[in-house]
């Protein structure tokens, strides 16, 4: 009998997922001092190659992407079965079925999914900085249906392949599927109405925490603290070419980097989803 104890923390990159994971760590640790950003458990990343190899007894480096995909749901089921606690798993994959009846992320072990979404205009800028790539290149990436992490088959990346698709497709895959309960969180709401936004997410997961506990965890996860920790000790999730992981995190920072053509291209490509999530009005005017 499977138990529902897995919470997927899901997003397209640079959309607030790491901030929420730091907040959760602080909320669950309940220690006096802020959690160390480098102590967010590595095994909690759903694409961990080590977890896959340990649980299957096979070397993922000897398997094709399709063979790995087929086994991933079973790995999650076994992890869920072995755990007496809630399992929080960071996800960047889009939601998809690996076979006719098998979702990559099995509904029968899923307690909840929190999906983080951010204005794609800001995502493009932040992602470009993170990957040390040009903004036009990242605009292309946001519109690439084949976009994936770790999908080279001529070398061995440290994580399993993750299919992301376009930004719009990623959002749709999670928010429009009907087999897993999803609570969508806008990054902009995390910034402007932090307490209520985080509280709603915690309520959705079903964690019994007081408003005071949530407030204290938010304070310990303040951007200035994360940024200071990174300055002092580095952050292992930063890409080597990027200067820092925690950059600005500001809403509307795209205005400092995108020209009219770049802006219009993103709006054209992702118009429907941007409207659906309150980034554009019916007349294509930006709301944020």
């Amino acid at each position: 009998m499977s138990k529902k104890n897995v919470i997927w923390l899901t997003s397209y990159p640079k959309s607030g997922n790491t901030w929420f994971r730091v907040f959760l760590t602080n909320l669950l640790n309940e220690s006096e001092t802020p959690a160390n950003i480098n102590d967010l458990a590595e095994t909690s990343i759903s694409s961990s190659r080590k977890v896959f190899d340990d649980y299957t007894g096979l070397s993922s480096s000897d398997l094709s992407f399709e063979e790995i995909d087929k086994l991933r749901p079973e790995v999650y089921r076994m992890q869920s079965d072995e755990s007496n606690e809630l399992l929080f798993k960071k996800v960047h994959d889009k939601f998809y079925f690996v076979s006719d009846n098998e979702a990559l992320f099995p509904p029968e072990i899923t307690l909840a999914c929190i999906y983080f979404i951010r204005n794609p205009l800001d995502v493009a800028v932040s992602f470009a900085y993170h990957n040390a790539k040009s903004i036009p290149k990242m605009i292309e990436t946001l519109n690439n249906p084949d976009y994936a992490f770790c999908d080279n088959n001529d070398r061995l990346p440290n994580q399993l392949r993750q299919l992301l698709g376009t930004w719009s497709e990623h959002v749709k895959s999670w928010t429009e599927q009907s087999v897993i309960p999803v609570h969508t969180v806008r990054y902009e709401d995390m910034k402007t109405d932090t307490l209520q936004t985080f509280k709603k997410a915690i309520d959705f997961i079903g964690l019994e925490k007081t408003e005071l506990q949530i407030k204290q965890a938010i304070e310990k996860s303040d951007f200035a603290i994360l940024s200071q920790q990174e300055k002092e000790c580095g952050f292992k999730e930063k890409m080597i070419k990027s200067k820092s992981f925690f950059r600005k995190g500001e809403i509307g920072d795209w205005r400092n980097y995108l020209d009219e053509k770049m802006k219009n291209e993103i709006i054209k490509n992702h118009n429907t989803i941007m409207k659906q999530f309150g980034y554009l009005d019916d007349f294509n005017r930006l709301l944020i």
């Binding site: 080590k50 007894g57 070397s59 480096s61 000897d62 001529d154 061995l156």
Partner: protein, 305 residues
């Protein structure tokens, strides 16, 4: 032990990992030998499930003396008492794909059943001893071993480095598995290299002339990690950190079936650790600079002395 005379004459006999292995089908990766076999590999039906399972994974089951592994569309492997492997084919012949998993996870289980210590990594000869490069998959264990081999060092093992109860590193077989990007980086002629599987750009690199056939004492274990900043760093591990680091890099540690085997495993670790040095090495995640990494290792740890 199996009665040599009772076996059919068309079996193949090899020596690998210090064991005489007799197999119903050809294993070209191994070195031909003769003598009474320690391990028998046969084709046949294997159990659907094991009884009294002590460890279970998505594709394996283990008891204190049995192990069962399924590789979909390839084969099922049943390993018993550290002396027998039965292979049930899920395809028409025991080809390179079958051998890939046989020489990987199935042999890993066999070593653990025999009370050997298999470390997940490659062993290279420096001076009169061996050093093992271990760490997570993708960290470059085979790549750095290949670099040293190309520069004239002998090697003993790729992927699984076996240590016996006399604390010697036992040679495996003369083959490295390397990814296409490393083949290109090291300018290795690749027109004759065979892919491990058709869908994966990882190749067998046979290196008979560089293979060291005799056991060597282990001197160092290097646990390789990566970081997102330039330069190399190292730290010598001591005490519990040393014990845990080697335990965690045991090949298929989750296969260790049952308490008894676990105690045996800890005993060999406890006798080994006072006699070796264990270092955590951190290299930049990119670019992969094998020459610079080898230079750092050689000079910092005086590997050529």
């Amino acid at each position: 032990m199996y009665d040599y005379l009772q076996m059919t004459s068309n079996y193949f006999t090899y020596k690998a990992f210090g064991l005489i292995i007799r197999c119903e089908f050809e294993i070209p990766e191994f070195i031909i030998d003769n003598g009474n076999p320690d391990v028998l590999i046969e084709l046949g039906a294997v159990p659907i499930n094991l009884n009294k399972i002590t460890k279970k994974g998505v594709k394996f089951q283990a008891t204190h003396n049995e192990f069962l592994l399924t590789v979909d569309d390839v084969a099922r492997f049943y390993v018993k008492d550290g002396s027998k492997i039965v292979v049930e084919l899920l395809k028409n012949k025991p080809d390179k794909e079958v051998r890939l998993f046989l020489l990987g996870s199935a042999f890993g289980a066999l070593f653990l059943q025999r009370g050997l210590l298999p470390i997940h990594g490659s062993a290279v000869k420096f001076g009169n001893s061996a050093s093992i490069f271990t760490g997570l998959s993708g960290v470059g264990k085979s790549s750095i071993a290949t670099y040293f081999v190309i520069k004239g060092h002998s090697f003993l093992n790729d992927d699984i480095s076996v240590i016996d109860n006399t604390l010697m590193v036992i040679p495996g077989f003369p083959n490295l598995k390397i990814w296409k990007d490393i083949i290109e980086k090291l300018k290795i002629q690749n027109h004759k290299l065979e892919e491990i599987r058709t869908t994966i750009k990882k190749y067998h690199f046979p290196v008979k002339e560089c293979f060291h056939k005799n056991p060597l004492p282990l001197k160092n274990i290097f646990i390789i990690g990566t970081k997102n900043s330039p330069g190399y760093e190292f730290e010598e591990l001591k005490g519990l950190a040393k014990f845990n680091a080697v335990k965690n890099n045991t090949y298929r540690y989750r296969f260790v079936g049952g308490l008894e085997k676990m105690q045996e495993h800890f005993q060999i670790l406890n006798s080994l650790l006072p006699n070796i040095s264990v270092y955590k090495i951190v290299r930049p995640q990119s670019p992969v600079d094998l020459e610079g990494f080898a230079y750092f290792l050689t000079n910092t740890f005086k590997l050529n002395e």
